[in-house]
């Protein structure tokens, strides 16, 4: 039983890799990934739509697609990824210690993570916000009616602080029930232990889609109480690696803007558009600058698809989540997805 002590287990997980790993070197991650031949990608333990194994055990999701895009750019093969499922607590230490090369695990980009925790962030791949899910029976219209409510919260994220801030700002009170395991937390909410469940709106939709008999019995209140730009994260100190991850994602967004999909990408190779030529490597230069093959972006679009395809497949209309594009639409359609010129 002694070994079950959470603290001791955490200590071993957290401190040992830090204590035993050697000093960090610039460029080490890029070279290391190239040498070992695969990307070690930190993902969620299982979040439907973002990173979860499908019925064949193959990892799929919006975050998983980032890992696959990076592998496609680096090796021309999106399958060259090994996944490390991580809890919210484990994720930052796993990245800091060098256990993983890339963290694509619905992680909110914040100032302190970017600075004090020694991380770098790639562009946001999903703009999210924290919301509340309640039973439709309560007849609530707004989160401002939650005064005195008991709220189920998952620890290890910014969620606990956000919900406290929201209630403080609106001069309301609440009681948190903080449970570490997702399944237990959801069970507590669905059995009525809490009046509301709070999490990122996308996660609430995922939970509702996957764990309820009738999704219409539950309502996601309209207020989003926080900004949650979910972004892939990297260790500081390897600009070359950071560049590759950043532009691998931008290539997906740019491909959508140019209407290039995994189906028509071969036909697009003959496109006269100079932007498309540069993107797909018909006009050389981008690959050399990133220190990869010139057809890097072609490999991404061919094997993973453009951002819109990835979105629809994993969280949009083509999935159980049915999340509207909203802020995650292209800038040309009023959203926030905007790729700088790839030249």
């Amino acid at each position: 039983m002694i070994s079950k002590l959470q603290a001791a287990a955490l200590a071993a997980v957290v401190t040992l890799p830090l204590a035993l790993s050697g000093p960090a070197q610039a460029g080490a991650t890029f070279d290391g990934v190239k040498a070992k031949g695969y990307v070690q990608c930190g993902v969620n333990l299982g979040l439907y739509g973002f990173s979860a194994p499908d019925d064949k055990g193959k990892w799929t999701g919006l975050d998983v697609d980032v890992c696959r895009a990076v592998a496609a750019a680096m090796f021309g093969d999106a399958e060259k990824v090994k996944y490390t499922p991580l809890s919210a607590q484990q994720r930052l230490p796993a990245l800091q210690s060098g256990e993983i090369d890339l963290l694509a695990r619905n992680t909110t980009r914040t100032l302190s993570r970017d600075t004090a925790n020694g991380l770098n962030f790639a562009p946001t791949n999903y703009y999210d916000g924290q919301g509340f899910m309640v039973s439709a029976k309560l007849g609530l219209k707004s989160a401002k009616q939650l005064n005195g409510a008991t709220v189920c919260v998952l620890p290890g994220t910014t969620t606990e602080q956000n919900v406290a801030d929201f209630f403080r700002a609106n001069k309301m009170s609440f009681k948190p029930v903080v449970i570490e395991k997702n399944e237990e937390l959801h069970k507590a909410f669905f059995s009525g232990r809490c009046d509301a469940l709070t999490s990122d709106a996308s996660q609430l939709a995922a939970i509702r889609a996957a764990e309820t008999q009738n999704p219409n019995d539950f309502l996601i209140l309209p207020e989003l109480i926080s900004k949650e730009p979910l972004s892939p994260a990297l260790r500081q100190g390897d600009e070359e690696w950071s560049n590759l991850v950043t532009w691998a994602f931008y290539a997906m967004v740019q491909a959508e803007e140019k209407g290039i999909t995994s189906e028509n990408v071969d036909a697009s190779m003959t496109s006269p558009d100079p932007d498309v030529k540069r993107l797909l490597g018909v006009t050389a230069g981008n690959g050399k600058a990133l220190n990869v093959e010139e057809n890097w972006a072609y490999a991404i679009v061919k094997q993973v698809g453009n951002y819109g395809q990835s979105y629809e497949r994993n969280v949009g209309a083509g999935s159980k989540l049915k999340m509207p594009r909203g802020q995650n639409a292209l800038h040309t359609e009023g959203g926030l997805m905007y790729a700088p010129p790839l030249k």
């Binding site: 930052l92 406290a164 059995s191």
Partner: protein, 385 residues
């Protein structure tokens, strides 16, 4: 030269040499791990140090013995968590001991039913992992009706999946005085018990210890309470909006953890008690009977004093286990030290510091329990004359 060889061959010198080598080796490895961690953390730009303890925590805690708000510091939040850990551990130690002794004695019962029942209980709770048991208890708690359909167990006491809600007294100065009188009464009772024992040992005559001690505990607080005008007002729980307002409550998380820890540890304590009693040879009982002692006296004066010295040392490790097992609270949402510290570690990103603090705190708690139990063990140890 031969003197050096001679010195090296001496067992004393060698002993010292090996011990010195061992200690310096351990220190060197420890120093290397600590300094390498610090170097790597600072190289990667990760903040270190304990300055974060004075920053605003910014998160709420479900239940707290102190008044705590999100605007308090991380240090205060951790103290709240520590007190929650100590509360549940202390209550569970008492429950587990009572239940454990009862089951342990029951297992030795000559009644087939009672003995079998105790055996089944012990084997079941000892052989199912505690985490599973906690989840089961918690699931049972959550299956209770919602606050709007709460069971009214006795008037004004409500049982729902938000916990047990019960009325409290509205505070009054008279209560403080009555409480003081109760403490004085307890001290008086201890003195009476001591006097009674001395009286019997010196004169050989019995002294009515029990009635006198009971009177000392009960009468003064009641007298003070009545004298201060018997202030008797209730703060009743009333259903408003989402939940009950007023009164006080025991949360489902606390209850599930308390039951889980008590039942699980009671299984082990029962076996320790059984082995302790069996360790006293049957001849002792017969000797007691031959002296004309009653069965109750035999248990209290002959069996227990000898059984306790077998029971106490393994009991200590059960108490230590119970306290450490309380950290499984994170699985069912009781805001104990580990739960609060995990949140703090996550918000600040200073995991190494937070884990180190948890380890030190658990170490100190465990050493305190062990220290107390060692003192008690010395007290009950058989004095050889």
């Amino acid at each position: 030269m031969s003197k050096l060889v001679q010195a090296l061959n001496s067992a004393r010198v060698r002993g010292w040499l090996y011990q010195a080598l061992f200690v310096s080796g351990t220190l060197a490895v420890g120093w290397y791990l600590v300094s390498n961690t610090l170097t790597n953390l600072s190289k990667r730009g990760v903040a270190t140090g304990f300055g974060f303890l004075n920053r605003e925590a910014g998160f709420e805690i479900g239940e707290s013995l102190l008044t705590y708000a999100a605007s308090d510091t991380y240090l205060k939040a951790m103290i709240v968590g520590l007190l929650n850990t100590l509360t549940v551990s202390a209550v569970a130690v008492i429950f587990a001991s009572i239940l454990g002794v009862a089951i342990g004695v029951a297992r030795l019962s000559s009644n087939w039913m009672v003995g079998r029942f105790a055996a089944v209980f012990v084997e079941t709770v000892r052989n199912v992992p505690l985490l599973l048991q906690l989840v089961v208890w918690y699931t049972i708690m959550n299956r209770l009706p919602s606050p709007r359909e709460a069971l009214e167990v006795v008037p004004h006491v409500f049982l729902s999946n938000r916990g047990l809600k019960y009325p409290t007294f509205v505070e009054h100065a008279g209560h403080g005085w009555a409480f003081l009188a109760l403490i004085l009464g307890i001290i008086g009772a201890i003195l009476i018990v001591r006097y009674g024992r001395k009286h019997r040992e010196t004169t050989g005559k019995p002294f009515p210890t029990l009635p006198a001690a009971l009177a000392s505990v009960i009468l003064p607080p009641v007298a003070v309470f009545v004298a201060s005008g018997a202030p008797f007002a209730f703060d009743l729980p009333v259903l408003t909006g989402f939940n009950f307002e007023g009164g006080a409550s025991v949360s489902p998380e606390f209850t599930a953890l308390l039951i889980g820890l008590s039942v699980y540890t009671a299984g082990f304590i029962a076996e320790i008690v059984r082995s302790g009693i069996l360790a006293v040879p049957h001849g002792q009982t017969e000797a007691g009977l031959a002296l004309g002692l009653s069965p109750a006296h035999i248990l209290r004066l002959v069996i227990l004093p000898q059984a306790l010295r077998v029971i106490v040392p393994p009991l200590t490790s059960q108490y230590l286990n119970l306290t450490k097992n309380s950290s499984l609270a994170v699985a069912i949402g009781y805001p104990d030290l580990v739960s609060v510290t995990n949140t703090s570690a996550n918000q600040t990103g200073q995991v190494v510091e937070a884990v180190a603090m948890m380890m030190v705190v658990y170490l100190v708690i465990s050493l305190c329990i062990a220290g107390f139990m060692n003192w008690y063990n010395r007290k009950v140890a058989l004095v050889t004359r």
